[in-house]
């Protein structure tokens, strides 16, 4: 659907963050750092269904049901059923913490197309430590149920300094449970995760080794399993276009109805954040300040404004520019042309990294040194 006055196309992707509540406490959580403010007054079932109808009418066809933990919503089946009826391809993005065999089957009946399960480590000890909650055994059980019930299975492994050495074991596990796609996603330091960037950042050597292991695993794989290695922004020469360009493809609705161009944009406190309780999705997408502010290229400053890459990478990530430079219209500091790039170089310089992974000697088992890692439950592990 094109808006007559602007030539802007409608969204293709609706990311529905059903709740920020979560039984896991991951230190790399990408929910906004002030997620606590959105724990109450969540959209009702009817409000979600209205959001789905509006997005579908505008042309959205992919629906991500995410969180927090979306399975905490007892109306998940109802929301999936409506989405399916509307013609969405429905993706459930879950920790699988409370995803019983029965629930997996009910969701299938409601029309759910695919389940993506995140895992925090390749073994129980690492996984449960990093998730801050004992959940490894539940995840493994759910993975088998998901495959048994005929869903495509996507396995998502967010890697950072404390688990990136487990890439090989993780891929072996994914292959064993017959995953169809595996995302080895280098941690992105957005929202809550920004607090932990110094502690979570891997070394360049760790990243190179993980990349090599992924390539080696791919080359000896006998069954069809796509493995994506999502390279980390901080180490890249070229920046990637955030959400395929601001306000072009993706629309995100947060648990209490805030409508955002990406799941990180809740940090844009200098702009009024529109809410689907007060305005139609159509009006927000085409007319709100938030969605129009960084559309296209006319908002750009130097060095973006004269850069030949500007139509390809759109100046990178607005949220990253805001978090590092306090101005979302600046060039993404991950870009080598950014005047703020020194901040990133300093962070990724191995010599400046203060918290190496330390295996402590301990007769009752080896412990990991987490330094100043902040868990989502607000408790500090030291």
């Amino acid at each position: 659907m094109m808006s007559e006055e602007s030539g802007v196309s409608g969204p293709l992707w609706l990311l529905a963050e059903l709740t920020y509540r979560c039984p896991l406490q991951c230190p790399y959580c990408s929910n906004p750092s002030n997620y606590e403010e959105s724990l109450s007054h969540e959209l009702t079932t009817e409000e979600w269904i209205s959001a789905l109808r509006q997005a579908r009418a505008m042309g959205a066809v992919q629906l991500g049901l995410s969180g927090g933990e979306p399975c905490l919503r007892t109306d998940l089946e109802e929301i999936v059923a409506e989405a399916h009826k509307l013609g969405f391809y429905t993706n459930l993005i879950t920790s699988a913490y409370n995803l019983s065999s029965e629930r997996i089957s009910n969701l299938k009946e409601a029309g759910l197309d695919h389940i993506q399960v995140s895992i925090q480590g390749a073994d129980k000890r690492t996984n449960d430590l990093l998730a801050g909650t004992a959940c490894f055994d539940r995840k493994i059980a759910a993975l088998y149920h998901i495959k048994e019930q005929g869903y495509p299975l996507v396995f998502n492994f967010v890697v950072h300094r404390f688990n990136i050495h487990q890439v090989w074991d993780l891929l072996t596990l994914a292959n064993m449970v017959e995953a169809d796609f595996v995302e080895v996603a280098n941690c992105q330091y957005h929202g809550f995760a920004f607090l932990n960037k110094e502690a979570l950042l891997p070394t360049p050597l760790q990243i190179r080794q993980a990349e090599e292991e992924v390539a080696r695993f791919r080359s000896q794989l006998s069954r069809k399993m796509e493995i994506f290695f999502v390279v980390p922004d901080y180490f890249e020469e070229h920046i990637s276009p955030c959400v395929n360009g601001w306000g072009t493809t993706m629309v995100n609705v947060s648990p209490n109805g805030r409508v955002l161009p990406c799941h990180g944009a809740g940090e844009m406190k200098h702009l009024p954040i529109p809410n689907i309780r007060e305005q139609s999705l159509q009006d927000i997408w085409y007319h709100s300040t938030l969605f129009n502010q960084y559309r296209g290229t006319s908002w750009m400053k130097e060095p973006c404004a004269s850069c030949p890459e500007k139509e390809k990478d759109f100046g990178g990530c607005r949220c990253q520019a805001l978090a590092w430079t306090q101005d979302a219209a600046n060039t993404d500091p991950c870009c080598p042309k950014s005047p703020h790039h020194g901040l990133i170089e300093k962070l990724v310089d191995p010599a400046s990294q203060r918290q190496p992974l330390v295996q402590l000697r301990n007769t009752r088992g080896t412990k990991m040194e987490f330094g100043e890692l902040v868990f989502r439950g607000a408790a500090k592990a030291t």
Binding site: G59, G87, N91, Q116, D180
Partner: protein, 94 residues
């Protein structure tokens, strides 16, 4: 593996094939992804919704488009591409 005229072809059940009014084309939907299909690709993939053979596909398309003179090459080349993309599953007749 080559695709022969007698090879049995079906659309991979992991992909959903549907018409999208707002995009004005058929699409293939899969976990977190979307492929917009041109007319030829859409016609072939629609016919692969039920088990068929390359020969039967070509025959149907020949009837539908009698003027097309490179149909065999076009269809076979698309089927190879579709197989490499995992959109279709190909097996030989027993």
């Amino acid at each position: 593996m080559s695709i022969y005229l007698h090879s049995i072809i079906t659309r991979n059940s992991m992909y959903r094939f549907q018409w999208e009014e707002t995009q004005g084309c058929h699409v293939l939907l899969y976990p977190e992804g979307l492929v917009q299909l041109n007319q030829t690709a859409a016609t072939v993939l629609e016919l692969c919704g039920e088990e068929t053979t390359a020969a039967a596909l070509i025959e149907t398309l020949q009837e539908r488009y009698p003027q097309a003179d490179t149909l065999v090459e076009d269809v076979m080349s698309f089927l190879h591409e579709a197989r490499d993309e995992n959109w279709i599953v190909v097996r030989d007749t027993e």
